[in-house]
Amino acid sequence: MVTVALDINPEHAKPWIALAEPTHPSLIDTTHITDELFGFINVPMAVWIDENGMLVRPAEAASIERSPLRDQEVPTGLPPRIEKMYREVKSIPDDSEGYRSAILDWARHGAASKYAMSPEEVVAASQPVSSNQARAAACFALGEHLHRTVGHDAAVPWWREAHALYPENWTYKRQAWTLVTTPEGATENDLMQGPNEVYSGNWLDDVIAAGGGGSYSVRPQLE
């Protein structure tokens, strides 16, 4: 197991890593290069790589435990926007049981596991990528580079373009949104990522525009 935090500011990931006390390599990807190399477009997602360095499963949603949130009733009296977010989160597909079983099967059987794909299958099963989506990766990279070397304002036009070119890529959007919606000096990121004056999108409205929570993740194809 190797975990990779997609965080352009490593200080945001470090407290979570410290709390987890991991025994596996727990890495931080400050440039989102693994988005490009492996096809991550949201979190959590995972790829499987065999002993020979070959991918045997493409990037797909990688939950292994059902969130208690899914079985809770939406509390009454919530502010309307929070209530809508709650309902969308609850509607995100849950494939955790099947995905966990598939991992265990691969751990036991390796290449003989029915879940391990051939090289041709794994390429074909990875997400489609258009020229616009490919360009979005370059735009996001330019934004990250300029955020780090020049300042946030220099990044914004490139991140706006990345969002417009590849709206299905939530890592590009959520990473950028949280930088402008988290109050100065806050110890934790703002996960609500609501409407803001910098970007046209925000979490709730973009999820609804994309078809709702049911369309939010790349579901593992395990059959």
């Binding site: 995972a46 499987w48 360009r135 990279a141 949104w177």
Partner: protein, 115 residues
């Protein structure tokens, strides 16, 4: 992926993109994409290589920075099943991680984020 210019050495191009420029073409694992004109005297012409791989090449003129997008040769997020491990990932102490330390082992690489 950020690149320092449009003329790169073979190791620089490999480190940036995961594609190795060889006389037979631009290669990752068993896959080689013919790319005449991309490699001359050990120098990769990124404008040619990018076109052959279907990688958008984007320039920020104000800051003179170049970036390459994802290869579109297969029309999928993965051009090849051969994993390319970047050298830029760090651990919580800021130390670079060498994926060679995991050679011969099965890996589940899980992406998460604090946001």
């Amino acid at each position: 992926m950020i690149i320092s210019g449009t003329q790169l050495s073979v190791p620089e191009f490999l480190a940036a993109t995961g594609w190795e420029a060889k006389p037979e073409g631009l290669c990752r694992g068993e896959l080689c994409v013919p790319a005449p004109g991309a490699l001359t005297n050990g120098v990769v012409d990124v404008t040619v290589a990018a076109k052959k791989l279907g990688m958008p090449l984007v320039h920020d003129a104000s800051h003179n920075v170049w970036a390459l997008g994802v290869a579109t040769t297969t029309g999928r997020a993965l051009a090849s099943a051969k994993a390319f491990f970047p050298s830029s990932l760090i651990d919580a102490m800021g130390r670079a991680f060498d994926f060679n330390s995991l050679r011969g082992r099965r890996i589940i690489m899980v992406a998460w984020a604090s946001w």
